[in-house]
Symmetry: C2
Amino acid sequence: MTSSDRSAGPDSIIGILGGGQLGRMLALAGARLGLRCQVYAPEPESPAFDVVRRITEADYSDEVALARFAEDVDIVTYEFENVPDKAANFLSSRLSVRPGPKALSVSQDRVVEKTFARECGLGVPDFEPVDSVEDLTRALERLGRPAVLKTRRFGYDGKGQVVVRQGDSPETAFAAIGRQPAILEAFVPFEREISVLIVRGVDGEIRHYDPVENVHRGGILRTSTVPATIDVGLSAKAALMGTVLAEKLDYVGVLAVELFVTREKTLLLNEMAPRVHNSGHWTEAACHCSQFENHMRAVAGLPLGSTERHSDAVMQNLIGQDVENWRRLAAEEGAVLHLYGKRDQRDGRKMGHVTRLSPLTRS
Amino acid sequence: MTSSDRSAGPDSIIGILGGGQLGRMLALAGARLGLRCQVYAPEPESPAFDVVRRITEADYSDEVALARFAEDVDIVTYEFENVPDKAANFLSSRLSVRPGPKALSVSQDRVVEKTFARECGLGVPDFEPVDSVEDLTRALERLGRPAVLKTRRFGYDGKGQVVVRQGDSPETAFAAIGRQPAILEAFVPFEREISVLIVRGVDGEIRHYDPVENVHRGGILRTSTVPATIDVGLSAKAALMGTVLAEKLDYVGVLAVELFVTREKTLLLNEMAPRVHNSGHWTEAACHCSQFENHMRAVAGLPLGSTERHSDAVMQNLIGQDVENWRRLAAEEGAVLHLYGKRDQRDGRKMGHVTRLSPLTRS
């Protein structure tokens, strides 16, 4: 390489906070661009540790380890939105953290997130902040039942949320989520759930992948299908909503935006994630440039890659014992198998995914 | 994973001999299957070291390091055919080395290779072993001029070979290749060069990728294009020739077979390589399952993956200063860029490749 600026080009060393499958896939994609990655994670058995030469095994509160990490790498990114504020600020004061701190603070708190989205002009389910049983009682009166009570922070895969139905007591519901600062969201009788992945470069260039249709079970994503069964207009609107959010956040990297399609064919923001996303795993098998590669390109200051599909795709998560079918899936024609190298199989744990490709029906 | 047999399944630890770009791409493909890889190479700056957690930095003659490596891993494979006999035998006596020792010994020596191919019923350019200037003089009388003098061992990228034309002295030619044991091959006025990649599993299952058309410059592969401009019959014949070789070698893994297409549309073996091959790099961008993944599947005892293409492809090597165009190539629509993370750019050094995809014209 001829560039002497390691912070923009294939010579950069990218630090990745988080050692799960997303960090692992980011590191693998980075490697295909010639980037070196260093993974920071507290768990010794982190799947991402297996695919990089340099690791930092330390807690996110360990400022000695964080300082050394900041010296080792040129740019920092992350695989999860719940990076502790203190760690994010500590690193941001020393080097570029991409996506930036604003994306993190907005997406870490559901009230802040929905308020921000509303201010951006996006439709969101009606909501009320809830800090007490009294708040919840009042909020239920205004929003009606059923409604969804969620913790403001640290929710994922359906954890930290409960549906409050007719007859349910506010006390029980608030206790069920651990009496934490919360949000009550009006129940959206949605027709389907979609998501759209936006990627934005350091120079402001924006691209998006085709929206996908998601099916959840028990709060966990089961399948993502592309193309989604929505019309072209709605597809364009989803992309536009994601684009607005990315612009307003001065975002760098891949931003995942989950949307409800209502019966009236309007789009409401469900949530966003400032990172690569499970509903974008199909891009590795069906696109010229995957979400992982495009995230690393954006973070490293490389030009963005094409987000076009060469195939239709259905991505299915392999959760818990699903992965025991690996041999059959590995042998299935047209199926692209991806396993995360996790040694311990547990109920509800994402062990891998399989993407079934078929010829392009429409782009 | 439920399998307790680490030598067949995604829990296996695969040892890879050789730390260049092929080893790197094997490790990356292995990671997508959940396999852990350990790379063994003597050079501290080996590109493959960057993408694995465990490395062995040692000479191939270091039996202490080899013994420890054999304990660390479950199965051994390699990225290059010139694994020293002693190292291969040392490891083979302790654990499975795939492809097996026969594939190595046959492909390490051009006389053994061509004799073997001829015994398998394959067409080969006429040849004579050459151990002295006298041998060479006699061989030139029988095979005519021009003819190609090659070292029997350790040739790659056009190194270790010289064309002997009218008027050239046998003494000069033999000196030019270092007076080593050699082979004189009749000059083949070929119309084009193609190669075919075969993959064979532990259970004997065989698949092949579509033959590709290769263009060399200065002895180094420049481009591989698929489909090759040959008819279906010739394509099938190429696959059959590769299949015969793989069967006769009781081969496990990817076998690369380079062939000349003569003006009379016959196929003659140029050479074979018991490993993934530069002319198969396009498979990463254009197939459901790349040569790298299929090699790792075969070696680890997993079912083979589909070798079908979803796109046409032209792979172009980025050699030496070609790589300085990385930014333009990264931004090119329809181009899939792969850089090897090599820090030192040198003339003739393979720094990366780019695969340009286009819609499938015929399968």
